[in-house]
């Protein structure tokens, strides 16, 4: 499974999810912090659920707690695939 998923695909999933959570699309860049995007722990819990549903990967709360930027999240997901 992991061989078929590109980082671009992960980025698309993350960006779409952040938009659904209410982040301003124009502000979403790889470098943007979740704090600046007003994305909080509840949003990241939802993101973990979406990632699990899409890729079958389980992100632990302790993993997600370390995630500060969009780029961090994409790299964490890519690592776990």
């Amino acid at each position: 499974m992991s061989t078929t998923i590109t980082e671009e695909q992960i980025e698309t999933l993350v960006v779409e999810s952040l938009q659904t959570f209410g982040a301003n699309p124009e502000d979403i860049t790889r470098e943007a912090t979740f704090e600046a995007l007003d994305i909080d722990s509840l949003d990241l819990a939802e993101l973990s659920q979406i990632v699990h549903e899409q890729y079958g990967v389980e992100l632990k709360g302790s993993d997600v707690a370390e995630v500060k930027t969009v780029d961090d999240a994409i790299k964490l997901i890519a690592e776990r695939l």
């Binding site: 659904t20 959570f21 209410g22 982040a23 007003d38 509840l42 819990a45 939802e46 659920q49 699990h52 549903e53």
Partner: protein, 420 residues
């Protein structure tokens, strides 16, 4: 004890968005019930909330947030305009001294049902992490507190269809004991779901005809509605000092319990009458000083009979001399929001010296012999007794009303309201 005044009101009801929309349409005889229910069809949460706030709130919280924005703007606390939605900077009191009490009968039932559907259809791992924070009964109180930076005591009260009145009563006490300098109080409900519909139907509580006509011989149950109302309460001297416009006074509050049956009121109305009598005593007035009663008036056979008995018990002969009408004839039964919505409706009716009608009432049941204001609104005829201080003449004296709320579980809460 110093007067506790109402300086702002807001409401979202089946008659539209806005407290005055409700008041004006009800007074004009408009009924917001459509196909046997009272939805807030005009309400679009996106007009009041950001995309994130909409996602983070069950509909009952969305309704409360909209009503709260209106109430705070009405009180002159915040602009109510886009931009600074928080109004934090505009509050006339320290945030730590502003409380928030919001009643709800059910809480986020729409969220609960959605979570249950997800659990059944897709499995537990897909139940949203937002489920609990959205469905919990205190979600509305928490959201109001966060949206407006209210850092005093905040919580939900729940007493089924008396919740809204209990919330205002609790807020009144919070101010009287000095726990807060201002309280944002109200009620909210968004229960128009197949589950609630089926459950109330199973109790034989809902009108099969889908018509809310309190006190009428043909009434056959209540019509479920949704909505919210919020009031801003402050101490009279502080409100005056900041030049606030005073809409009315919460003169008294009385509460009691039937301790009788899970859903049925006592036939003799004694429990309900006890709450009315307690509200009068709290206000320091006698029954003959009441100009109007905003009835709980659900349109169920049991309530309207018991409540008529209760009004007679509490007010004696005076009961037959004053108008008694039911807001539920215009909007259906807003359950945990009803007490707050009806408190707002009562205050605005008193201000305009109008007795709004019990819509749909054409022939009262035998024995239900109070003046239920059938047909259309009437000018509120002031009873001759006034406040017993010789000021009772013409339109000059303040007017007084009782607003009744009774809930499943035998919870009774009555507010005594005054308009200048």
């Amino acid at each position: 004890m110093e007067a506790i005044v109402v300086t702002g009101v807001g409401a979202v009801t089946p008659l539209g968005v806005g407290a005055r929309a409700m008041h004006e349409r009800w007074s004009a005889g408009v009924c917001g019930v459509v196909d046997g229910e009272g939805p807030c069809a005009d309400f679009d949460p996106r007009e009041f909330l950001s995309a994130k706030e909409v996602r983070r709130a069950d509909r009952f919280t969305q309704l409360a947030l909209a009503a709260c924005q209106e109430a705070l703007a009405d009180a002159g606390w915040s602009s109510g305009e886009d931009g600074d939605r928080s109004g934090v900077g505009g509050h006339p009191y320290a945030p730590e001294r502003i409380g928030c009490v919001l009643g709800t009968g059910i809480g986020g039932i729409g969220t609960l049902v959605e979570g249950q559907d997800t659990l059944r259809e897709r499995g537990g791992q897909y139940v949203s992490p937002l489920s609990v924070p959205l469905m919990m009964s205190n979600a509305g109180a928490g959201a109001l507190s966060m949206a407006h930076g209210l850092r005093g005591p905040s919580f939900a009260v729940s007493s089924a269809c008396a919740s809204g009145a209990h919330a205002i009563g609790s807020a009144l006490r919070m101010l009287q004991t000095g726990e807060a300098d201002a309280v944002v109080a109200g009620g909210s409900e968004a229960g128009l779901t197949p589950l609630a519909r089926a459950a109330f139907s199973a109790l034989d509580a809902l009108s099969k005809e889908g018509i809310s006509r309190p006190f009428d011989a043909r009434r056959d149950g209540f019509v479920m509605g949704e909505g919210a109302a919020v009031l801003v309460l402050e101490r009279a001297d502080a409100a005056q000092a900041r030049g606030a416009r005073v809409l009315g006074v919460i003169r008294g509050y009385g509460a009691s319990s039937d301790a009788y049956h899970l859903t049925a009121p006592r036939d003799d109305g004694a429990g309900q009458a006890a709450a009315m009598t307690a509200a009068l005593a709290d206000a320091g007035i006698g029954p003959e000083q009441i100009d109007y009663v905003n009835a709980h008036g659900t349109s169920t056979p049991l309530n309207d009979r018991a409540e008529t008995a209760a009004i007679k018990l509490a007010l004696g002969e005076h009961a037959k001399r004053i108008p008694v009408s039911s807001t539920k004839s215009a909007i259906g039964h807003l359950l945990g929001a009803a007490g707050a919505v009806e408190a707002v409706a009562t205050l605005l009716a008193l201000r305009d010296r109008v007795a709004p009608p019990t819509i749909g009432l054409t022939e009262p049941e035998a024995g239900l012999d109070l003046d239920y204001v059938p047909g259309s609104a009437r000018p509120l005829a002031l009873n001759g007794n006034g406040n017993g201080d010789g000021s009772a003449h013409g339109q000059d004296r303040p007017v007084l009303a009782l607003s009744n709320s009774f809930g499943f579980g035998g919870h009774n809460a009555v507010l005594c309201l005054e308009a200048p």
